[in-house]
């Protein structure tokens, strides 16, 4: 029922970020048609909102999607918890992240499927996916 979403013509101009985010996602889902692509071209989101809107991978073809996988090939999602499978030297510091350290609420590098980010102690670090295992 793509025509239902012509309502976004109005609601995409909402001042509320949650509404903007869903408008962007639905238009992206429908963009193979002309009118949603046209609205999408007019919809301006600030950087933070755009990141949020893109976080579910809406509007990206499966083949272009960047998928993050742990050492066992298990798919990692934003918000997952992982555990380090070896001691990792943190580049540019004397810090070593110890094997067995749990990293909670990771985020994914949108451009590189080998990088995730998370906090080890108080420090936000980039971790390479092949050194982590997803905690279920």
């Amino acid at each position: 029922m793509p025509n239902h979403w012509r309502c976004l013509n109005d609601s995409m101009w909402s001042e509320f970020r949650a509404v903007q985010t869903i408008a962007w996602r639905m238009l992206s889902r429908l963009k193979s048609e002309e009118w949603p692509q046209g609205l999408l071209d007019m919809l301006y989101l600030d950087n933070e909102t755009l990141k949020w809107a893109q976080a579910t991978g809406e509007g990206i073809d499966e083949s272009e999607k960047i998928i993050h996988r742990d050492v066992n090939g298990v798919v990692l999602e934003t918000g997952d918890s992982v555990v380090l499978i070896k001691d990792l030297k943190v580049k540019g510091s004397s810090m070593v992240a110890k094997q067995g350290t749990a990293v909670r609420r990771i985020s994914l590098d949108p451009e590189n499927s080998e990088y995730i980010e998370g906090k080890v102690g108080p420090t936000q670090i980039v971790i390479i996916t092949k050194y982590v295992k997803k905690l279920s």
């Binding site: 793509p2 979403w5 109005d10 509404v19 869903i22 639905m26 889902r29 918000g79």
Partner: protein, 66 residues
């Protein structure tokens, strides 16, 4: 005031996507790192069903005859 009440106030008790005024539900926009009112919207069942089930929205045909 709970979340639904706050959203009803913000939206004038209307679906924030299509302006319908019936069957309104709170939808927390995933991933839910932004919580509360800023991370949610008030929407109707029709919109919600399609947001959550891409198959129901797809502009492309779901199957093609040979």
């Amino acid at each position: 005031m709970n979340l639904e009440q706050e959203l009803r106030e913000r939206s004038g008790a209307k679906c924030e996507l299509c302006s319908a005024s019936e069957n309104l539900k709170v939808y927390e926009v995933p991933p839910t790192s932004t919580r509360g009112v800023d991370g949610s919207l008030l929407t109707c069942e029709t919109c919600l069903d399609q947001i959550e089930n891409p198959d129901h929205t797809d502009a492309k045909p779901l199957a093609l005859f040979k």
